[in-house]
Each structure stands twice: as C-alpha cells, then as structure tokens.
C-alpha cells in the first residue's frame, strides 16, 4: 500500500478564553488515502470543524495549533510558510463550507469568483479559466451555466449556491476536498442531490474527501471510514460498515440509539438518550471525557482510557473490550 495522502498525528487546537485555555481539539490523529472519504462525526463543540480549519491553517487568529506530524502528499504542512500554504489551499486542498452565502463574495459575480481561483493558481488565460468554470458548473448540474456566470450569489437559491461552492472547490482539481456540513442548511431533497453529486465527483476524480457532519444518516451513506469525535478527541474509528454494525464506544452507541430509524424504531417508542452535558474543555481533562454521562463508567475511567485496537484502522478509546 502506498503512503496515505494526508497524515495527521497529535493535532491540538487551543483557544485562549477568559477562563483559561479552551482545548477544542486534543491529540487527534488520522490518515486519509487517495480516493477515500473520511467522515468526522460528532455534536456541536466536539472539535470537528476546528480540526478541519486546522488542517488548512484557517484557524481564528487567537487559536494555537500544535501538531506532531502533518504531512500532505509527502510535504510537511507544519513547516510550510504562509505563501506556500496559500498556493496549496484552493489548488491541491479545497474546502466547502456550510453556509455558501457567507463563503461567497456578494460583490462579485460567481463567474469572477470561479475564474479567479483558476487564474491565480494555474496562471491560466481568462478564456481557459472561463471554459473550465462553465464545464464544472455543468458538471455539478447547473443548467444554463454560461448565463449563470454573470449572476451574483444572492440571485441563486441555497441549493444552487452550494453547487457553485462545489464547482469552485473543484476548479483546480484538488487532491483533497474538505467539506464542513455541506448540506446542513439545505432541504432534504436538495441534500440528497448534493451528496449524490459529491460522492459521484469524488469517485470520478479519485479525490480524497473529509466530510464533517453531525447527521449519522449522511455519514452512513457517504463515508468509507468514520471518526467519531467527543470533547475534542476521536473516541472511535473504523469503516462505516464496522462502526454502524457494531459500535464499540458507549458514546457512539448512545448517538445511534438517539435517532429514530424507520422500520427499526417502533413509532412512538421511547428513544435512547445521553444524560448530562459535555464537560468543560477549559484546562486539562484527565480520564475518559465521557465518563460522567456513561452507563458503563467505573472507577478506572477516572484515569485516561486505553485505545483498544481490533483491526487495522479500527480502534476506540474505552476500558470496555467491545
């Protein structure tokens, strides 16, 4: 097997807040291979978006990133200067955000914005960049693409704007696409269309993708591999098939029990619940961060839990064997 496209080892993100140091991402490690989709799943505040922003060096100014190793296609991203990172971002690594209205510039036509990406990274002629923009808009299913180039973001619907964002991310044919909740703001029918489109393009272009979502339905359908995050840590990883068939960590099990599944959950029956709230991430956390809410908690959970490994790429952070 060849080396993974992206290797992240020991990533942490700290934010200074009045109460102390908010440790939003704590010792996160994962790899992504070419052509593979990794889903980061978890609830608000678990650190999944911060992880994505940290990879692209797009963290808020006050945030401090620490990492033992961060390699992308053989390059050490941690040692890369700002201009080299700028050259990489939008070219080899692209990102799609949740809210396309805030990610697109309202003062420029979508044509301007699409063309700029290509011209900047590829030093291409305007006509070539324009041709590529039309080609990609058609590819993401926008009818009358050439005419759309002259439109401003506010003239498009939410679903169309998200398609434009996808087209923009693909302008330079990136090796890695990071998508942060790309369909959360959209209607269910549009969500299905956009996800189907992303999955198809990813396969066709052999891109690697990191998809961030809180929606277990989305994750199950799109992911090759899944990393479940809780309180800034990855608490469980595995292939989508392994993780949904036999979740090992009590948090993953709890999450899956919370959602009604048509055909499996009896209508009107009591749904599973996870009592309590996420612990404060200010300062150091010792022991299992889930123990206060866990039905299986024991006294040893007050110490840092072991990382159990069942197979290559299948592990969880818990004293329970499975």
């Amino acid at each position: 097997m060849d080396a993974p496209l992206l290797e992240v080892e020991g990533l942490s993100v700290d934010l200074p807040v009045p109460a102390g140091l908010l440790r939003t991402v704590r010792d996160v490690s994962f790899t992504v291979r070419r052509g593979e989709t990794l889903c980061l799943v978890g609830e608000s505040g678990c650190g999944k978006s911060m992880t994505a922003l940290a990879l692209l060096d797009l963290l808020p100014r006050r945030a401090v990133r620490g990492v033992r190793a961060l390699r992308f296609a053989g390059r050490d991203l941690d040692r890369l200067g700002e201009s080299a990172m700028n050259a990489l971002r939008g070219d080899r690594i692209a990102m799609i955000f949740q809210e396309p209205m805030t990610a697109l510039n309202p003062a420029y036509t979508i044509g301007n914005q699409l063309v700029e990406v290509h011209r900047r990274h590829r030093k291409s002629a305007a006509s070539a960049a324009r041709e590529r923009a039309v080609h990609l808009l058609e590819k993401v299913g926008i009818a009358g693409a050439a005419r759309r180039l002259g439109q401003y973001p506010h003239q498009l619907s939410g679903g169309l704007r998200q398609r434009v964002m996808i087209a923009m991310a693909l302008m330079c044919g990136p090796d890695l696409l990071v998508a942060d909740e790309p369909t959360t703001a959209l209607d269910v029918t549009i969500q299905a269309q956009i996800l189907r489109l992303l999955a198809g393009l990813q396969r066709e272009l052999d891109m690697a993708m990191i998809l961030i979502s809180h929606d277990l339905g989305v994750v199950a359908r799109v992911a090759d591999r899944v990393a479940v995050m809780y309180a800034g840590q990855i608490v469980e990883t595995g292939t989508a098939a392994e993780l949904f068939a036999a979740p090992a960590h009590p948090y993953t099990r709890g999450l899956l029990a919370c959602i009604p599944v048509p055909g499996r959950t009896k209508p009107g029956a009591e749904l599973g619940a996870i009592p309590g709230i996420v612990p404060s991430l200010v300062g150091d956390l010792v022991g299992c961060s889930f123990r206060e809410r866990c039905a299986h908690a024991q006294t040893i959970c007050a110490a840092d839990p072991p990382v159990r490994t069942a197979a290559a790429g299948r592990s969880w952070r818990c004293v329970l064997a499975a």
Binding site: E43, S44, G141, I142, A143, S157, G158, G159, L160, R163, D187, V188, T189, I190, Q191, A192, Q193, L195, R196, A199, H214, D215, L216, G217, V218, V219, A220, R221, V222, A223, A240, A241, L243, F244, A245, G254, L255, L256, A257, C258, I259, P260, V261, P262, G263, T265, P267, G268, E270, L271, G272, A273, I274, I277
Partner: protein, 323 residues
C-alpha cells in the same frame, strides 16, 4: 381517535405582497393557497414540506397570529376571528424552533414560564411560583435553574423552558414548529421523549411541523405533506410511509438518509429547479419536477381526491384524468 375536529382550516389562503420599493414592482406571493385541513383531538398531525412551502405561515394562521386573506379557521367549531385573542391563546400555544431567540434573555426562567399566568391573571400572584415549580418538574427542569437566565442554559434546557411556558395555561393544542431542528442529536431525542410523555400525561394534541421525516414518522399519527402552499397528500402515518401516493411524497421519502452504510445516497429523481413561489407553475405546481407528469398536469390543477380515508392531489389517481 375519530372525535370531531378540534381545529379546522377551511379553504384558507394567505397572500403576501413583497418588493415594492420606489422603483420596484410589487409582487404577489401566495404562501398558502385554499388549504383545507383538520386536527382531531388527541392526534399528532405531522406537517412536512421543504423551506418556502408555507408551513410556518400556516402555523401562524392556526395560532391566530396571522389573518388569512381567504377562508376561515375554526377552533371547536367557532371561527377564531370571533374569539378573543387571549381566550384563544389559552387553548392553543406554540413551541418554536430556536430556543435561543424565542426566550427573553433578560428574564429569569421562572419569569418566562410564569408570564402567561400574569398576562391572563390566573389566580393570586402568590400561587404563581408554585405553579411554575410544578411546571418545571413536569418538563424535568431542575428547580435550581428557576432564577437562571436563558444565556446560562443549554439548548435542550432552553427548549424545555419554551415547552413549560407553552403548557402552563394547559392548552389543548400545541403547535410545534421544528422544535428539535436546532438541537444536537442527543438532545433532540430527549425533547421528543418529553413531548411524547407530556402528550400522554396531559392529553395534548400536537401539530408537529418538521422537515425531518424520520422524526415525523416516529412522533406523528397522521401526516400532511405540503408543497408550494397546498397539501398534496394526507394520510395516517403508517399508510403514508408504507404507500406514498403523490410523486412528491415519494421523492421526499426517497431522500431520507437512514443510517445504513450498505446503501448509497438515493437518486430522488427530481430536477434541481425548486420553483419560484412568486411565479408558481401552471396546473399542478409540482409538474416541472415530477418524473411522472402527464401532458395535462401543466395545464390543469389536480382535484383533491378522497381515497379510503386519505387525501391526495394528483392527476395520476384521478380516474377522470387518466383515461
């Protein structure tokens, strides 16, 4: 379950005028179009549809917060326009989507929950505190939070406050407009469990508006599907999810992503173009996206058809259309 309807909408319509700046033309937006619907005592009516279909406009009209521009709404057989605003508010209450914006940040939890008692002057002020405490216990809010402000609460706790405020006057109907959409998965299940328990304990009737079909299937006893201001299909929950008739309902159900890793993201078969509500399509409003459209669908509006206790608006099921 076959009691007389408690809340009924008779051919209700609502038109908004949008635009109309100095140089801009005014546009007429028909958010809800001659819609007929009833809610029976004790049931949970799920109302599903995509953004802009008019479900929140309908909710506001059912609550008496917005006047219909056509048709009428009756509560227990009485036109709500003839009812006093306060009298109606005692019997029908809302729970909104965002517990961050629907609670006054400068009032304490106890003051927010007790406000309806003050407005309606229920009993002596000395008894209010006890009533609020009782209500907090009912929605499982710890008593120590009584003097906290909404900003100090989690999303789930805020939604419990909103539910307690809605229930303190012991209404008969609660209109829940996307009550769990802003919440995390683990909190969503707690709120759904709470709503189910309250319904059993207090004999409540819900109108449950949501775009999450798995949640609607779980909680509703009957479902109405809205598309561009019309109810295109209505049936008992089990029947609607097992045998969806309208092509739009079929597409909606197909786009539900169950957590099943052996399946891919489904193809809904819908074109991408969601119609502009300012310029709705002729004939059946769904025809430009409909994979099963007939030539007549673009010219003639479908009738509302009664089919064994269910209702559907589609030419495919109209024997007079399909011959």
């Amino acid at each position: 379950m076959n009691a007389a309807p408690l809340l009924e909408a008779h051919g209700v319509g609502r038109v908004f005028t949008v635009g109309g700046g100095v140089f801009l033309a005014k546009h007429r937006l028909q958010a809800v179009d001659s819609l007929t619907l009833h809610v029976r005592r004790g049931e949970v009516l799920g109302l599903v549809g995509e953004s802009g279909c008019g479900k929140s406009t309908l909710a506001k009209m059912l609550l008496g917060l917005l006047e219909p521009t056509a048709g009428s709404i009756t509560f227990d057989g009485v036109d709500i326009r003839t009812l006093d605003r306060k009298a109606l508010a005692r019997r029908i209450q809302p729970v909104f989507q965002d517990p961050y914006s629907s609670l006054n940040p400068r009032k304490t939890v106890a003051a927010i929950i007790g406000l309806p008692l003050k407005v309606h002057r229920v009993g002596a002020p000395a008894t209010w505190r006890a009533k609020v405490r009782e209500m907090m216990a009912l929605v499982s809010l710890p008593e120590r939070l009584a003097d906290s402000y909404p900003g100090q609460l989690s999303g789930g706790q805020r939604q419990r406050v909103a539910i307690a405020r809605a229930l303190i006057m012991r209404p008969e109907i609660v209109i829940c407009d996307e009550p769990t959409s802003a919440l995390d998965v683990s909190v969503q299940s707690q709120i759904l469990n709470l709503l189910q328990r309250l319904r059993r304990e207090l004999g409540l009737t819900y109108v449950f508006i949501s775009h999450n079909l798995a949640v609607v299937e779980h909680i509703a006893t009957r479902v109405a599907v809205m598309y561009l201001g019309r109810i295109v299909e209505e049936a008992d929950t089990a029947r609607l999810f097992a045998y969806p008739r309208h092509p739009y309902t079929q597409a909606l159900l197909a786009s539900v992503l169950t957590p099943d890793p052996s399946q891919e993201v489904p193809d809904t078969g819908l074109g991408i173009a969601f119609p502009n509500p300012l310029d709705p399509p002729s004939g059946c409003r769904f025809h430009p996206r409909c994979p099963k459209a007939l030539p007549l669908c673009s010219t003639q509006s479908p009738r509302s058809l009664e089919l064994g206790g269910a209702r559907v608006e589609c030419h495919l099921y109209d024997t007079e259309s399909v011959t």
